[in-house]
Structure formats: structure tokens, C-alpha cells
């Protein structure tokens, strides 16, 4: 039998269900794997072995009593460290929160616990999810399990690396401009940004509220579907949570894409997207043709403006959302301030890293008197055009296919010092957040041993079709090897 840490969530679920293995053994195998590898990968900000084993024992006891188990009972999970976890340190990888322990659980935290998941720990991110490599983490940089000298992508780089290194079969992330899909691509795992409103954001520490969305990481499309099923529940605590019941996502994984209409927006293959990445995505499209889908080139002419829009809208919302870190209600406080304004300023100077300050400044400027119309209002209008491009596509296509990231994982430090270079990592993912659609990234090949990501974009609330297409490709392409060697 394979090592427990190698198994998918679906396989673990079956093994636990048949009584071949206990939840305790599954949790321990993953905790051991974390203990062995995380000192090198550094995916986790906080490991929670006590919680993991207690939750595992709870489900073993329930099973022994003959109780019906919830769908993910005993399956290990890692949560990005911007998900509130009651009584468990939640840092957003920022110094400003110190060792803050939330007094409540995020809805997503509650849902995965109720679904039976066992919490291994909280994963590293770029501070407040602002970045594409985890190099902006206020704590440390996570390593890419395929090459420890390279970044895992970001901002959900810790979650992607934890899943890629088989430290956890499942993890959660949040995606504001690509923060699930881009690290999934760079780490060779599956990552999905559901439709805006599909998963409750209650208790997800806010970055840009009109763009943030929670989604799953896994090593297979089926596992991603299982986790999405647990997360996609309407929630009265989030007024942007859509009051729509999710369909059975696993039932969508038929392997059949005959007649599926695929559009390929040419703007996503433009200059700046590495030739190897373009070639890998075109090969994936050939495979879709072989499987009976129709593939046609199309255009989303405003996609090129997505990045500029994003860097107005997201910092504008962030400058407002991050106003709450003032040294009064949570986290750290600079203790030498004489007056209250000085306390705000010194606490924020001490607690925030450069990128966060940078974006707060950018957003405050874009919203300030005299510049609001030129920047923020203009960006919201162009956002409408980006969204309309997608709507026109949905008249003719079921999904769109594009690269996820313009390149494979880059070296740690490679993009430091250039304020634009890092931001270009998200050119293929940002337009989807602007429009609110759903999209998945999954592996579609390797360049010199580093994974390449394929992005499949779907209509709002049509995660089922995206998962069906992704699963059919995954089964047909069968990329090997799926586990990095992690040899010293």
C-alpha cells in the first residue's frame, strides 16, 4: 500500500470508510511528513498537532460508536493564515497581528470542521495576501517543493506548497487577483477560485472585499471538488454570499467533454507569456479536441487593462479595510507613543511591511479628493468592459482556456526591487476576479522540472462545467511525476 501521505482525499476517505486505517493514523502520517519536510519547505506559520489528533480521535470514536461520518471525516487540511480560527493564532503573515487569537471561526473554518476535516495548521502567505511569491510575508518565505530555491507563488503559497509536498491532501486559499490559481500553477497542484459569492467570506481577513474569494487546493480535480462541496454553502453572515445551493460537484466529473465549446482568448497568449507555457497550453487544447471538444480562438480585448484596473481597485479597497489595524483592538501596539495619532502611526509603521504600506498609499491616493474620478471611477468603468468581454464569450463558449501564470516558478529574490515585475505574474488571472467568474488551475506539463498551469475559466456559478473539463483533461493527460522528490 502507498504511504498514507501520498493518498488523495478521496482515497483516504474510502480507506477510512472501510476501516482499513484510522483517522488518527492518517493525521499522524501527515504530521510526521510536516515535521520531516516543513523545516525545508516552510509552508506553515503554525502547526496544530494537538488539534489535529484530537479531531482525528473524535471521528475514530464516532466511527466506533457506529455513527454516520460527515463527508471529509478524518481528512487533513491546512488553512491559509488569513482564515480566522477560534483560539488558534491567525497572523495574515503580518507582524501587526502579533499572536492574535480570533474570538470566532470563519464560516469556511467552521464548514471544513463540520465536514470532518482535521486541522494540521495555518499556512504562510504574502502579508495580508498582497503578493505573488510569499516573499512579502512579514514572517518568512515559503519554498517551492519542486525547487527549494524558487518561490511557490502567492499569495496562498504556503497552502500550495503544503499540498504539493504531500504534507496535506487539502488546503484552502483566498484569491483576489490570482492568489489561489497562480501558486497552484507554480507548485503543480489544482487550485480553484469559485464564483464571487459562492463561498462565504465571513471571517476571512479582508484584503479587497469586492474581489476576494475563498477556494480549494488539492492534488486532483476530484479532491478539489470534494472540498469545494464543503465550502459552497450560502451564509447569512456574508451579505455577498449568493443564496444558491451548490450542485453535486463530484457528479459533474463524467470524463465526457464531447461537444464542450472552448474559447481561447488570444490576449492571454501575448508577449510576456513564456513560449514554453504557450506551447503547453496549446497541447492541452489539442488534447481537448481529441476528447471531442470544439476549440476556437476568440478575443477579450479589454483583458490588457485588467492589471491597471486591479492596481487601483484592490489597493483602494485595501486602504479602507486595513484602516482597522490601529493598535487598539487586536495585535500589537507601539508602546512609546505620546498621543493617539502617534500610536496609530507608530503601530502601523512597526507592524506593516513595505508592500502593504505601498498599497495603502496607492489606494489612499487613488481615492483622495481630486484623483477619485481619474483613477478609481475610471477603473470601475473599465472593469465593466472587462466583465462585458466575458459575457460576450459566454454567448458562444462554455469555458475559456488560457495559461494561469505567464511563466513557471521564478527564483527567490529574482523580482525584488522592480515594482512592476512581480505584478505581471497575475496578468492571466486578474481579469477573472474583475468579472467575478470561476476558474481553476491544474498542471499541464513541466519546463525543466517545474510545473506549468492550465487555466479553465467558467461562467458565474458554473463551477460544475469547469470541474468537468478540468477532470477530463487531468484523466486523459495523466501528468507524471505528481510528487516532487524533495531530495536534499
Amino acid at each position: 500500500m502507498a504511504e498514507l501521505w501520498e493518498l488523495s482525499a478521496a482515497a483516504l476517505r474510502a480507506a477510512i470508510g472501510r476501516g482499513e486505517v484510522s483517522c488518527h493514523e492518517v493525521a499522524q502520517a501527515h504530521l510526521d511528513r510536516c515535521a520531516a519536510l516543513d523545516p525545508r519547505v516552510r509552508a506553515f506559520v503554525t502547526l496544530t498537532p494537538g488539534t489535529a489528533l484530537a479531531q482525528a480521535d473524535h471521528w475514530d470514536a464516532a466511527r466506533a460508536r457506529g455513527e454516520a461520518l460527515p463527508p471529509l471525516a478524518g481528512i487533513p487540511i491546512a488553512l491559509k493564515d488569513n482564515f480566522c480560527t477560534r483560539g488558534i493564532r491567525t497572523t495574515c503573515s503580518s507582524k501587526i497581528l502579533g499572536d492574535w487569537q480570533p474570538p470566532y471561526d470563519a464560516t469556511a473554518t467552521r464548514l471544513v470542521r463540520e465536514a470532518g476535516c482535521v486541522l494540521l495548521g495555518k499556512t504562510n502567505l504574502d502579508e495580508f495576501a498582497m503578493g505573488s511569491s510569499t516573499e512579502n510575508s512579514g514572517l518568512f518565505t515559503t519554498r517551492n517543493p519542486w525547487d527549494l530555491d524558487r518561490v511557490p507563488g502567492g499569495s496562498s503559497g504556503g497552502s500550495a506548497a503544503a499540498v504539493a509536498a504531500c504534507m496535506s491532501p487539502l488546503a484552502t486559499g483566498s484569491d483576489t487577483g490570482g492568489s489561489i490559481r497562480q501558486p497552484a500553477a507554480l507548485c503543480g497542484v489544482v487550485g480553484m477560485k469559485p464564483t464571487y459569492g459562492r463561498v462565504s467570506r465571513y471571517g476571512l481577513v479582508a484584503f479587497a472585499s469586492s474581489l476576494d474569494q475563498i477556494g480549494p487546493f488539492a492534488r486532483s480535480v476530484e479532491d478539489a471538488a470534494l472540498l469545494l462541496q464543503a465550502l459552497a454553502v450560502p451564509d447569512p453572515l456574508d451579505s455577498t454570499s449568493l443564496p444558491v445551493e451548490a450542485p453535486d460537484y463530484r457528479a459533474a466529473l463524467t470524463g465526457d467533454v464531447r461537444g464542450l465549446r472552448i474559447g481561447v482568448p488570444r490576449e492571454y497568449f501575448a508577449e510576456g507569456v513564456h513560449e514554453t507555457v504557450r506551447t503547453a497550453v496549446r497541447r492541452a487544447l489539442d488534447l481537448f479536441c481529441d476528447l471531442g471538444a470544439t476549440v476556437e480562438e476568440t478575443s477579450t480585448p479589454h483583458a490588457e487593462y485588467g492589471l491597471a484596473c486591479y492596481y487601483i481597485i484592490a489597493p483602494a479597497e485595501a486602504s479602507s479595510n486595513l484602516a482597522r489595524y490601529d493598535g487598539v483592538r487586536y495585535g500589537i501596539r507601539a508602546d512609546n507613543a505620546r498621543d493617539v495619532i502617534g500610536m496609530f502611526e507608530e503601530t502601523r509603521d512597526l507592524g506593516f511591511g513595505d508592500e502593504v504600506k505601498h498599497r495603502i498609499m496607492l489606494g489612499t491616493y487613488a481615492l483622495s479628493a481630486g484623483y477619485y474620478d481619474a483613477y478609481y471611477d475610471k477603473a470601475l468603468r473599465v472593469r465593466t468592459l472587462v466583465k462585458q468581454d466575458f459575457e460576450r464569450c459566454w454567448e458562444r463558449y462554455d469555458v475559456l482556456v488560457a495559461p494561469t501564470s505567464p511563466e513557471v516558478a521564478f527564483r527567490i529574490g529574482e523580482k525584488a526591487g522592480d515594482p512592476l515585475a512581480m505584478k505581471l505574474s497575475d496578468i492571466c488571472t486578474i481579469p477573472v476576479n474583475m468579472a467575478g467568474n470561476c476558474a481553476i488551475s491544474l498542471p499541464c506539463g513541466f519546463q525543466d522540472g517545474l510545473p506549468i498551469g492550465l487555466q479553465i475559466i467558467g461562467k458565474s456559478l458554473d463551477e460544475a462545467t469547469v470541474l468537468r473539463a478540468a477532470h477530463a483533461y487531468e484523466q486523459a493527460a495523466n501528468w507524471q511525476p505528481r510528487v516532487p522528490s524533495l531530495s536534499p
Partner: protein, 98 residues
């Protein structure tokens, strides 16, 4: 588009409640100007007839029944604060005594 001056950086820093060193101010002015140049591209797009999109989903306000429910426990909330006393957050003096 206008370029950010050092004086504007200082003004925005004040609005943002960020204390910046002289070196930080200059670096921010330089970096932000690189980003702001990117925004110039947007001016080329004709948006006179295009409405703004503040939100991807066309949601209208959502109401819930106006029924009382328990709040989060006060002690737990205060526990996370840097300084608290009785049932209050403690901050430096805001009002002068004179």
C-alpha cells in the same frame, strides 16, 4: 496624469496614518510613479457611456429578520487587545485636561 511629489506622498501618508522615513518617502514616490504610469493606459479607453462596476455580482441589499442574537463574548474580544481594563479598550489620552 500628474506625478506624485514628495509633498503629496507626505500628505497621503498622513491620511493613511503611516509614518515614513525620508528614505521610504523617496522610494515610495519613485515606485508609485512607476505604477501610476501604468494607469495612464486606462485614459485611452473611452468610458463615457460605460457605467462603473463596483461589484461583480449584481446584488441588491440583503436584509435579515431584525431579531436579537448573542454577541461575541466581551472578555474574549478584549483578550486580543494590546491593552484593556474592565470592559474597555485603553488608548493614550485623547482629550487634553487643560
Amino acid at each position: 496624469m500628474p506625478r506624485l511629489t514628495l509633498a503629496e506622498v507626505e500628505h497621503v501618508a498622513l491620511l493613511s496614518r503611516l509614518r515614513l522615513t525620508e528614505t521610504e518617502k523617496q522610494k515610495l514616490a519613485d515606485d508609485l510613479n512607476v505604477i501610476l504610469q501604468q494607469f495612464d493606459r486606462l485614459q485611452a479607453v473611452d468610458t463615457r457611456e460605460v457605467p462603473p462596476t463596483a461589484h461583480a455580482m449584481t446584488l441588491t441589499n440583503v436584509f435579515r429578520a431584525d431579531t436579537a442574537r448573542p454577541s461575541l463574548p466581551r472578555a474574549e474580544l478584549l483578550h486580543g487587545a494590546p491593552e484593556a481594563r474592565d470592559e474597555f479598550f485603553v488608548v493614550p489620552r485623547v482629550v487634553d485636561t487643560e
